[in-house]
Amino acid sequence: MRIALISDVHANLPALEACLAAVARLQASRLVFLGDFVGYGPDPEAVINRVRSLAEAGAIAVLGNHDMAVLKPTRDMNSAAAQAIAWTRQQLSETSKSFLAALPFEVRSGDALYVHADASDPSAWHYVTDAETARASLSGCDAMLTFCGHAHVPAVYCLSATGKMISHAPVQDVAVPLLAHRRWLAVVGSTGQPRDGNPAASFAVHDTSARSLTYHRAPYDVESVSQRIRALGLPDSLAARLLEGR
């Protein structure tokens, strides 16, 4: 079975649609959303509507820190992110807010764990950005495969039976074999606001029978989303970073 992993959509509907179209071409039969549906981008209500109907059809979705911030104000955000959250809160319908409020922090399915950030304490929203933080996340759960987002930069970590940690920067469209007898932690890149230098929407596909994970990119019209962010009066920095993928 092929499972598509989509993370950090951040209210970017064209990016989400580009990913979903690519996922359909790759014949993934299951969708998993790793949180942060809103924040930063111009389409929070439309993105949640889309995700909600997919969730009703069987897609898995977990809660992200931006989704949480809409429901419960937090101080742990920079000013651009906080401004976007304040604006988002006004855009969302009650239906959408209750959809977010019902999302779990994590979902376990077979040997896989789906979570937005560090799995050892999902509500603390710690980033997994290097071998050390990956080890912390892996030591706090028992799943063989952990899939998370939050960092906006794709990365794969692998813990061997002897406790050695391997870091790997995945290459686009090249399958990473998820070898048995090892625990794997995959950080899925961001669909709606990539920060690895490539503005195209990021997602990944886990092939359970081939035991492999492949990172993909879906190009979309970044310029028009950036213009809409500006037109809506959201912080200019959010419009600019989208164009560069930084």
Partner: protein, 469 residues
């Protein structure tokens, strides 16, 4: 984990075990027959299993990941992998013949023979590096030859693939490799630099012409590290039959800093095949090891400062391309010459390590065979070299970046194509025939080359001349 026990006659996944052909430190080799069609293959199985020596298992997993992705004549063709849950194995093409290992009893070998072997091994490295793989265990027992002449590199248990997780990264305390051939950066744990294989090939070239390993065969990490500061005895001191050009090549391969070695195996192969074009440096004439104080100073430096960092993953091997400009002196206008030189320079501009080979085909008469001396008694070949150098002079390229080649042949297009294939050329630049009537009558050399070349081809044409024609 492992349920199957292998014996003669055992059948696994459709392969019948015929005989145990080799037992090594980490793996067994079996000759097997595929039941479906009776084809003969080689099966590799790890010697020890999980829990005993993780290194053997991890290296076997790496090989199972890398081998199916490799293509071409320089690697054994991969047939099948066996599941770790039942019986891990790799089935691959069974190569006939021996490795280079039995040659060790015949050392030293003649320099010409070693240069020829070295060029063929470098060709195999070119193919491997182009596929994003660093071998990291290049040594005589891992090198075989096809009956057609190509070197085949075997054993990918310690290899690094640019696009796959490196399971051997930080896995073990000791660096992995074979002590006499290991590059200094490999000793320090760096596994991603293709130039490490160039160092290993340098060790092999040195060993094969002197009969002595340049860095001995140290057993401990401390001994391995000595190659970071202690340079080997120059090969010419050990064997006076080694010419300066060969020492130049070997000592360049053995530079401690990877950035001072050949940037690519293709450039190394080119020098091994064209020693007459080599620009010699102090390396060529050196007869003694570096002095006590120089070595002491290096030894006092932090070890990591003695080596170079590996290239970025995104950097392509062709950042140091071999560019060839094929020059037809009989059909050259000043305008076309200028345009050809400018085009070549533009390609070289972005790659400081690129090399330019200037090529001319001296056409032989199809009926009356070569008449090497022309009417004035001048050697045509030498005259052509002089003309080529004169042609290239306006480019003002440093010696060592540019070489000149005059080839005698009947068919210029076939000769240029052969040259590009044999010398791993990355980019060919050539002029179109200025006169379109001539092109119609004689056919287009550049057209044939562009259609059949194994690399990029830029055909340069002068717009004005074309309009007049």
């Amino acid at each position: 984990m492992v349920k199957a026990r292998l014996n003669i006659g055992t059948v696994i996944d459709g392969f019948t075990i015929d005989a145990l052909t080799h037992t090594g430190g980490m793996a067994h080799l079996w000759s097997v027959t595929r039941a479906a069609d009776g084809a003969q293959f080689l099966m590799k199985t790890p010697v020890v299993y999980e829990g005993e020596d993780p290194a053997a298992i991890v290296s076997f997993e790496m090989e199972q990941m890398i081998m199916p992705r490799l293509k071409g004549p320089h690697v054994p063709r991969h047939i099948a992998n066996g599941d770790f849950a039942v019986q891990p194995f790799i089935v691959m093409e069974k190569l006939s013949g021996e490795t280079l290992l039995p040659q060790l009893k015949n050392l030293p070998l003649p320099v010409e023979k070693v240069a020829e072997l070295g060029a063929r091994i470098a060709d195999a490295l070119v193919a491997l590096h182009a596929q994003g793989v660093v071998h990291l265990d290049l040594k005589p027992s891992n090198i075989m030859f096809r009956p057609t002449g190509e070197a085949v590199l075997v054993d990918y248990g310690l290899a690094h693939h640019r696009e796959l997780p490196d399971l051997l990264q930080e896995e073990f305390r000791l660096p992995y490799g074979t002590a006499p051939y290991m590059a200094p950066e490999q000793v320090m744990g760096i596994r991603s630099d293709p130039r490490s294989d160039i160092f290993s090939l340098g060790c092999l070239l040195y060993f094969f012409v002197t009969g002595i390993r340049p860095f001995g065969d140290p057993l401990k990490l401390k001994g391995l590290k000595q190659r970071l500061w202690r340079d080997p005895v120059p090969p010419r001191k050990l064997n006076s039959a080694v010419p300066p050009w060969f020492q130049e090549i070997v000592l360049r391969c053995l530079e401690v800093k990877a950035g001072r070695r050949y940037p690519t195996a293709a450039q190394l192969a080119h020098d091994l095949r064209h020693p007459d074009q080599l620009v010699l440096t102090a390396r060529a004439t050196k007869m003694e090891k570096d002095g006590f104080f120089a070595v002491l100073k290096r030894k006092g430096e932090p070890h990591m400062s003695l080596i170079d960092t590996p290239p970025e993953r995104g950097a392509e091997v062709s950042d140091a391309p071999i560019v060839t400009v094929a020059v037809n002196l009989d059909d050259m206008t000043p305008e076309l010459a200028d345009k050809l030189r400018r085009t070549a320079l533009r390609i070289l501009e972005r790659s400081p390590d690129a090399r330019l080979a200037v090529l001319n085909v001296l056409k032989l008469n199809r009926i009356a065979m070569d008449q090497t001396l022309d009417e004035d008694g001048n050697n045509k070949h030498v005259q052509r070299l002089v003309d080529l150098k004169d042609w290239a002079r306006p480019m003002k390229l440093a010696q060592g970046r540019i070489t000149f080649h005059v080839l005698e042949a009947i068919d210029p297009a076939d000769t240029i194509l052969d040259y590009a294939r044999v010398n791993n050329v990355d980019h060919l630049v050539m002029g179109a025939r200025a006169n379109s009537t001539m092109r119609k009558l004689l056919g287009s050399v550049s057209g044939k080359v562009a259609a059949e070349a194994p690399c990029s081809v830029t055909v340069v044409r002068n717009r004005e001349a074309e309009q007049q024609g």
